[in-house]
Amino acid sequence: MARDTFDKQLGDLKAQVMEMADLAKWMFETGVQSLIDLSDDTADEVLEKRHRLAELDEQIEEDALKLVARQQPMAKDMRAIGAALKLITYINRIGRYGKDIAQITTQWDSETHYSDLVNLPRMVELVHNGLNHVLRCYHEEEDIDLEQLVEWEDEIDALRWSVFRECLTYMAQDPEHIEEYAYYMMIARYLERCGDNVCKMAEKIHYMVEGEHLAIDT
């Protein structure tokens, strides 16, 4: 091949994006786990990782811009670099929502949860599945079924409002734990935003693979 070095650099860039995505996924999942277990130690592990997440974000951006300057990419190479630059923003946000959830764990005053965490576990499962799916597509450079993703995102949105309404009811019935229910509402919002970011990632992966700009209405 005529551009072996460039191909290797593109491969390295993708590997860095995957490393960052794995970290963000870990922060998200572990942040949620810290909340379920009400474990400050687990939450602290997540909070500590935010620095590494920021480092990777900066490093990947720098490397991607160097590739643009030095290799002057065209067509699929340009799309791959452009996608990487956008993906890291969305990945960073997902990681930071994991950190935000871990932060709630550290501020949780009660010894227990309430109302079986309302619909939050189902939302977590959906985000987890969606994130894994888009990351696999990115790794394999496969297109994503965007229609299916819209349905997936609609379910997350619906659950978010369901959590909101339920929590309002529980707050009225159980005013002693208003703070905890307010946290559940915040977490539902974070999970819904994670879903939006997964959709944004899917749009960029679709562009990278197919060269077509499409926007999912989130």
């Binding site: 551009r3 002057q72 067509a75 190479d77 340009m78 799309r79």
Partner: protein, 249 residues
Amino acid sequence: MSNITVEDLNVWYGDDHALKNINMEIPEGEVTALIGASGCGKSTFLRCFNRMNDEIGVARVEGSIRWKGVDLNGEDVDPVALRRRVGMVFQKPNPFPKTVYDNIAYGVSLNGRGDDDMDQIVETSLEQANLWDEVEDRLDKNALTLSGGQQQRLCIARAVAVKPDVILMDEPASALDPVSTQKIENLIEELREEYTVVVVTHNMQQAARISDKTAHLHLGELVEFDNTDKIFENPEEELTEAYITGRFG
């Protein structure tokens, strides 16, 4: 519209089939870039628009290039008259060994515009080529004393002075430094407002910057012709993708 319509164009150099069944439409008032690996036929193609291949003894051209209702390859077309309407700028600047002023005036007087205000024509042409400010005090100096970039812009001024409709450029900036290249590219950007420009370039980024349409040729065949944005962002043909991403061969 006076688009240039190329139909079933074939060119041979002896037994060598240099251009094979080219069909495309060059849009009026836009910049069309021709790209492709060395030997793909892009310069041969460019020379078809002003019958420069006629000067090559072994060259044989078939098919038609229709422009304003006339087949440019027709026997009744005078190649010299055609070249007044279709100017050309080459890879290496080739000013006449005359003064800056005479480089412009010579072609103009040959084309029967000698009665016009020659000083005004020279000034306007040099302004159009963004060169006037640099040479207005040196009009009586030999053009060969100008820098390479200035000489190339002088050649462009010489081409526009005879008021052509089409300007052909064969790698017009490949022999120039980055600053001069930038000036030529800016100039092409301005020329598109008045002229149809067809430019051959080996520089992908340059084609992407300056052209509206891009044609990719390979081994004498037209592989793909589309809007430049489309070609460089998401080409249809794998061969084009391979060429523009540098993975050719």
